[in-house]
Symmetry: D5
Subunit: 96 residues, 10 copies
């Protein structure tokens, strides 16, 4: 089941560098683990911003929320979720 999720990060500008680096490192490790598990299929950076566009392939909405609310940067994020289905014009059988 596919979802597009756009995440915009707003870190406080006065956050100590050490703390910012730590939380970003945790975020990266967390994201890569889930990508390697196949649930976080794509993650792109929106050019010129501190936002990412991601495609999630998860078994259900609970799992999506579990992943997103577990992001270390979640408290600093504005998140928009769009549920996707295969497009009738897609040449891919499943286009997951």
């Amino acid at each position: 089941m596919l979802f597009q999720v756009e995440m915009t990060v707003n870190l406080p500008v006065d956050m100590p560098e050490r703390a910012a680096a730590d939380i970003k490192a945790k975020e990266k490790a967390y994201a890569q683990e889930i990508q390697n598990a196949g649930e976080w299929r794509h993650i792109w950076r929106v050019a010129g911003t501190y936002s990412n566009l991601s495609i999630f392939d998860v078994k259900d909405i609970d799992r999506l929320h579990e992943i997103l609310s577990g992001l270390p940067l979640f408290p600093y994020m504005a998140i928009a979720v769009k549920p996707l289905v295969r497009h009738p014009s897609s040449v891919r059988a499943d286009d997951s």
Copy 2:
């Protein structure tokens, strides 16, 4: 080079069925040709809407505009374009 494009179609509700079917068929053929050429990498339907979310992988912006403005449904579309780059947390080397 990757772009995310969201296309929302607003066909006039009083468009004759025949004309609507024709233009949709042309749109599908056009979209599948470009997908098979590898430039239109993903196309998903946003659930509950007449919008699609697509990922284009094109050589430059001119080509992107050529594809989009050549869509049979282009005159009936609202289009938003976001340029994408590889995300530092992506586990894919290029994340095409």
Copy 3:
């Protein structure tokens, strides 16, 4: 799996009464069939508007899109979809 869907209907004001009555009757029959099947769990009217707020309990997003895009009034609707999960404060085990 739960989704909240808000549907706002904009029928052309010059639509012949007969056609409007027909399409509304089809919409009602369609909606009641799906409610009776248990997938369209709640449908309320937003007071003072021609919008409804609905809660769908479907097996996946494909089914949600199938239901929504199959609505007779779909071409006349603006639709917003929000995926829901059980709230940690809910006293209902599943709150479907």
Copy 4:
């Protein structure tokens, strides 16, 4: 009488963990008490966000405001209220 209420919580990111945990615990107890009283009929989490969608069944608007303004997290909330009525297509007699 039914109302849909969407509540988005914005806790200050620098709120001490102890204080945040306390206020969330109070919020949960408060919400469960009212759910058990039958006035807070449904509460769902909007996936990927710190928002909830709730359906209240209260005797009047005063009671709704009393409940909402009494929420421990009220000072940190953006709240949108939509009054609901039974939909003519609902298969439920009252669709409470």
Copy 5:
């Protein structure tokens, strides 16, 4: 029970004058009947617009929706509804 309702009328500019005059006359008669019944407590024109701001005092939401959806101009209206309660600073016991 009090509601503030803002109604903005968008009559098609090509509506025949006769039809426009008729529907406005019906609207006025309808509105005055409900005002005289005490349910439509205030109606003001927002200066410079074709909108009105009204205060309704009705027994419940069903009645509010019944009144609003029964307005002859309802199909041409954009309507916003805000449920009101007595303000703690009001010097009026009930502020009807």
Copy 6:
């Protein structure tokens, strides 16, 4: 002369309780004095929010601004002002 004014209060969440209580008490006394003078004709609370909807009947705009900018909570408010006139459908001679 009538104006509708919507006032939304955003007190800093870290404002000391004592200071918050003082300023609210001053606000209440100020508002009741002007209500008793007949200029602040109605004040309602928008259910579920920290906003009020008020109807002012003042001799001119200067007086309106004097009242609003003199509110103790003015620095913490977002204010929207709509000038009103008697509606042609009003059954009240003046509905001031």
Copy 7:
């Protein structure tokens, strides 16, 4: 009493030229009459648009509404009204 009014005109693109020219001529005559009466103190065109920014000096809101709703182009206009008062930094005694 001063009001700033911004008026944006949206004439139907298929309005016959003759009808458009007539209504614009009536609008101009109407506007100049009120300017000469001193109530319509300023009217400027917002560069690049079909909008005007005007300053009205009228005895009360009723008169403002009378003028605006009497504009021949009123049915084709989106209008925003802002009540103004003398600014404390103004060097003009009254800044009419």
Copy 8:
């Protein structure tokens, strides 16, 4: 050359009174000097807000920016600029 400029001031609510008074005094002196020079032709307060609506008559855009960016309150302002031209319906030859 005329510009309409709307300036909304957002002073931090925790700014010491002394500092606020000083910067406002500087702002007033600055504004009055430019008014007396004839470049800042009108300044009005938008009733109920901490915004002003101003009409500038300057030789070019550079001068406009020089004035606005030199305002003592500039760092605390949201500013919107609209270039104006004489309206064809204006009875004033130049309506400066």
Copy 9:
């Protein structure tokens, strides 16, 4: 004097092809004449849309409005104008 202007064209979808081709040809000739005169310094197409971003270098606002309101497609356009000045970081002496 520089202005950035964003023009979005909304041609009626049912405009006869001949009429659409004619008006576009006129628009192109008009735009190229003004470019060659040096006043319309840049015109780009916003990829994926029927909008252009242009930089005008004109003697004053009147001339800007004259050019824009003279565009054959003006009645079908939504236009946004931003006055520009040289940026302090520009390496061009005059990049006006």
Copy 10:
């Protein structure tokens, strides 16, 4: 390849002057270096604001993001990116 980028800077009002001056100096040096390299083709100030409108000519999106995310003021910026292509009405062969 051309992009229009609009950057709005929101420096904290309580940033020490020394720190603000330093970061602005770094920003200026950074911007001028890239302008001299030919990638940052135009930079203008939007009159009355702390925003700039820039035209970038870069080899691809990666380079655009590299430049923008490397701006010393990047953490304090809201950025909007629009990909541009040559306009069919442009008199410049390449006004890419």
